[in-house]
């Protein structure tokens, strides 16, 4: 019963964040445009040799999603901080983890949409064909997005309320995300540009382990972080 109440609260928070995002539009469009720009810049840095570009595509697409996504994480608290709405939100009854779950879901949707745009653009720009194993790629993308969003949403709760939040969030987040990035990039590489299939399998299990560990830890620690 209580769990269902929390689920309703989390869904309400996610819905509120996504509605605000949808109505303003500018936010997502700007971030998506930035992601595409980053991809183009990667093309300049690595190109124009099409073999080299194709080999680097998995790395470029995940980094573009990360660099653009990190802006979304800070935004998800910034809108409330600017409106003075975070304290009232915390005063609502119910556990704080419902708030975290809601923000997590909203950011997950945001990053997933971003990844769709980034991957579609990469397929075109980096001349990569859609592999026959695309359902496996979909799983890798979902797991990678969960990894990025879990710690991203968690650290943004701190960074967005500190001085120098623009630099602090990436500084805290990027080194912590090294396992997710390595695993997501390697698994994507195995699926997109070839490589042993069992490679992708091992990296996928690392992604699962990382996601589970940090989902549990962030839910346990979020109370401490948001109340301070």
């Amino acid at each position: 019963m209580a769990l269902r109440d929390e689920w309703h609260r989390a869904r309400a928070v996610a819905w509120k964040d996504l509605t605000a995002e949808r109505r303003s539009k500018a936010g997502f469009n700007a971030v998506a445009a930035l992601a595409v720009t980053i991809l183009v810049l990667f093309g300049f840095a690595l190109g124009p040799d099409s073999e080299a570009i194709r080999a680097a595509a998995p790395g470029a697409l995940w980094l573009a999603a990360l660099f653009a996504g990190v802006l979304a994480f800070n935004r998800s608290y910034q809108m409330e901080l600017d409106g003075g709405a975070l304290e009232p939100l915390l005063m609502y009854p119910g556990a704080r983890r419902a708030l975290f779950a809601g923000k997590l879901m909203a950011n997950f949707v945001f990053v997933l949409l971003l990844l769709v745009i980034v991957i579609a653009t990469s397929l075109v720009l980096f001349q990569v064909a859609v592999p026959p194993t695309w359902p496996a790629l979909l799983i890798v993308v979902l797991l990678g997005a969960v990894g990025l969003v879990t710690l991203g949403t968690f650290y943004a709760a701190m960074a967005s309320r500190s001085r120098a939040r623009e630099v602090l969030l990436p500084l805290l987040l990027f080194p912590m995300l090294v396992p997710v990035l390595l695993a997501a990039i390697q698994a994507t590489k195995a699926l997109l540009v070839g490589g042993a299939m069992n490679d992708a399998g091992a990296w996928t299990s690392l992604l699962v382990a990382y996601d589970v560990i940090f989902l549990i830890l962030t839910f346990l620690a979020f109370d401490y972080v948001i109340e301070a």
């Binding site: 710690l151 960074a159 309320r161 500084l171 090294v178 690392l206 401490y224």
Partner: protein, 240 residues
């Protein structure tokens, strides 16, 4: 009239004995270095270059101890809410990051003539570098948050996560690529090298303990002063 100390929940540290401990630690470090340089023969492949390992390897071991302390004190802070645990975690993180940097730089100086490159993307090197970046982020977080309770809770979470992440980072870069020689333990070495490594491991440990204590005392003194200032501004000697 209440003494000024009563306005702070804890007393400022008295560091007399620890200063003596520090002198002894430094003297012991010098002795340990002298002994190792004297008794260990030049290595067959590396020559006298191997002497750098008497700081590099102990620094790496003690870096691990420091980060372990960060995790322990961070957890203890979240459990007991004693501000002093937060300051201890911070001091251990500072010394750990310092030893981490030392490990990296000495490793590079050693690697250049041995491997022919300053840097190799191997599992141990890369995960050590990632840990350095994680704890650089931890220290930046502390620097950018002014409110003490908020800083304590946030950095406890960040410190704990960073320490927990180490095995995952290590495993991921290990799968990614590996080249480092099997790590040194006293068992894999000639006895004269082993003795030198042990002596210096303890030397760096004592220095690390001394530094952690000093940084903790400095932070504690500052917090006591802030508590007293706050009490004075609020007018009165209310405990709190």
């Amino acid at each position: 009239m209440t003494s000024a100390v009563a306005n702070s929940p804890f007393e400022a540290p008295k560091s007399g004995r620890w200063l003596l401990f520090g002198w002894l630690a430094f003297a012991y470090l010098i002795a340990a270095q002298a002994i190792s340089i004297a008794i260990s023969p030049p290595d067959r492949d590396m020559g006298d270059l191997q002497k750098i390992l008497y700081i590099h390897v102990p620094a790496a071991w003690n870096m691990g101890i420091c980060y372990f302390l960060v995790a322990i004190y961070s957890m203890r802070y979240l459990w007991k809410r004693d501000e002093r645990d937060d300051l201890k975690a911070a001091a251990a993180a500072e010394v750990g990051t310092l030893l981490n940097g030392l490990t990296l730089v000495l490793g590079m100086i050693w690697g250049r003539p041995t491997w022919g490159v300053w840097w190799a993307w191997d599992a141990r090197l890369t995960s050590t570098l990632v840990m350095f970046l994680i704890f650089a982020g931890y220290l930046a977080l502390r620097a950018f948050v002014d409110e003490p309770e908020r800083r304590a809770q946030w950095s406890a979470a960040a410190g704990l996560f960073g320490a927990i992440n180490y095995p995952i980072v290590y495993m991921s870069v290990r799968w990614w690529r590996t080249l480092h020689q099997v790590q040194s333990t006293p068992d894999t070495l000639d006895p004269s090298y082993a003795l030198s490594l042990r002596l210096n491991a303890f030397a760096i440990l004592f220095i690390a303990i001394f530094f952690i204590r000093r940084r903790y005392e400095a932070a504690l003194t500052e917090r006591v002063a802030e508590h007293e200032l706050q009490a004075a501004v609020l007018g009165g000697s209310s405990r709190g």
